[in-house]
Point group: C2
Chain length 343, copies 2
């Protein structure tokens, strides 16, 4: 096979503040669709790309982070679903489907291919789900709820960014566990999803609440036992005031803070003492060993309909920057996915 | 017995910001040194009073706190050591020594006497210790270190307000557990105590550090496993940046924040995620059932010299306001006690 045109999404420069589409650009290069002799890498054709909030961190020049920064002038990388074209790994062959870290481009030569996991695809499950519920966002929700929140039947649970990839699942887990579940999201359409699709007991549009403390008191007159934290800042402060004794806060992320030059200060931490609250941060990478068992469980739940899942599908690699940036403006309705190619 | 003069310390009005001596006043009243007929209370002569940071909270008009606010115009209450003059409680008799909640006055008629605990006094242990190491501050240190910090041998431990009633003990517990222990305090004299009296590995005077982050990096080049939090604000922010993976923060208090109209914002909470940190607030009242066992252990440790203890003794009830306010200016060297009478 000779050289093939390869469209790529490039980070132009490190970003300060809110990223915009102009921080990225489309570049066309040529790629030979064959691995170099002796390569232990994997050459893939990309199908679906995952847009995740943690990617914002990689757009800044941060030293010593838990994930390395992107390299300006180079292709953006992230989790995705791909089909194998050529493989230097004994356990992967041409036409295998995989998920793992790939490039934001049509074809990727993945030199360090350890993260690629072979997909046992069946027609009843959309392949794109391996960017979300069947990949790390799904495992994040599972671990976050069952391992970090220490849930008890009857607990009151509040989830911020509740309609996103992780939140929609946490809410369903909490409901099936016997908790009272309320979520916040950034539009009425999303709040409607929470209540009518994911089975939350209630939900509210945080953009329409001038007083988050008052909003939380309305939904939790007796306080919050468990907060699944994904936004930080003012929401966290309001939640701290409304936590119950011996409450738990699972800190999954703080998306409202990622684009600020200096993060907002959180003022109500003394409530941790008065209310005896446990606040615990976690990263899904520490729980990767639980993935096979998780996958088996969630596939069966998707098949029997006990868990539902909503994606926000953006068509075309060239629209990936817009889709990524949409996360930080709360534009995505459900898990944000970019379709590069369907096969 | 007829009426007896009774000197009292009165809170004049609710306090905003830093309290001053003029927020309190000395008042002389008369008290009959005999319980009313049928009383189930206890009449005591106060000997030693405890000055504790949490008392600041009670000087403000706070609704729904874990401890009620003081009443302006009334005598200040707090923990202390006293001798029983007259008792309506079957298990307490004249001349018994007790510790528990009493008034900042020479004599107190304690109507709700449930907190009074009889002291089995022996001459080798100073009676004043029942305001600190042999009372709730001691139990706070014990519970905070062993139950909340989840210590492991070899852990690096940082303690703020380290020479105070609680900190000095936490440091000694951590050292005896096999940890590397550094404390911060508000004067060179106190830092000297940490290193040469309490056996800390090192210590620093936070008032002489312009850059707390740099100071912590100097003492913990490989990071902090356990932070025993007693000050909050800028120190907490600096610690968050210097925590190690899977670190633990036991939140005992935040004394730097108690006198601010609005607490300082804490900006580095996202480190909880990146470093997988557990941050947990606690109140000693939840562990009161552990006191008898704790007392037995600590008495034996004091007697064999494996634990040492330093008090800052203020003579005279009329100086109690000055002593209490000194806590918030870091003036006390060791546990702050006020002597009302020695017998």
């Amino acid at each position: 096979m000779g050289d093939q045109a390869n469209k790529q999404i490039i980070l132009k420069n490190y970003v300060n503040g809110f990223p915009t589409e102009s921080d990225m650009k489309v570049r066309n290069v040529a790629i030979e669709l064959k691995l170099p002799e002796g390569s232990t890498g994997v050459l893939v054709k990309n199908l679906y790309l995952s847009c995740d909030p943690y990617m914002r961190n990689r757009m800044s020049d941060v030293k010593g982070s838990y994930v390395p920064s992107f390299t300006p002038g180079s292709v953006i990388t992230g989790y995705g679903v791909a089909t194998v074209i050529d493989s230097g790994r004994a356990d992967l062959r041409k036409d295998d489907l995989v998920w793992g870290v790939t490039g934001w481009e049509e074809y990727s030569l993945i030199a360090a291919a350890e993260t690629l996991t072979k997909i046992q695809h069946t027609e009843d499950i959309p392949l794109s789900y391996y960017t979300g519920i069947l990949a790390l966002p799904g495992l994040t929700a599972y671990v976050g709820f069952y391992n970090i929140c220490s849930p008890k039947k009857g607990d009151t649970v509040f989830i911020s960014a509740a309609s996103g990839a992780v939140g929609q699942l946490v809410g369903q887990y909490a409901k099936s566990f016997g908790c009272y579940v309320v979520g916040s999201a950034g539009s009425d359409e999303k709040v409607n999803l929470l209540k009518n699709k994911f089975g939350f007991d209630d939900g509210f549009n945080y953009k329409e609440e001038h007083d988050l403390d008052a909003a939380l008191k309305r939904y939790f007159p007796n306080g919050i036992d468990i907060y699944f934290e994904q936004v930080g800042g003012k929401m966290l402060d309001a939640v701290l005031t409304n936590m119950r004794l011996n409450g738990r806060i699972a800190v999954c992320g703080m998306i409202s803070q990622y684009n600020l030059e200096e993060s907002e200060g959180v003022h109500n931490l003394l409530k941790l003492v008065h209310k005896r609250i446990e606040m615990r941060g976690f990263l899904v990478f520490d729980y990767y060993h639980m993935y096979p068992k998780y996958l088996e469980t969630i596939l069966s739940q998707l098949r029997d309909g006990s868990i539902v899942y909503v994606e926000d599908i953006e068509e075309g690699l060239e629209n990936a920057p817009k889709a990524l940036i949409g996360l930080f403006h709360s534009r995505n309705v459900g898990k944000q996915v970019v379709v590069v190619a369907r096969e």
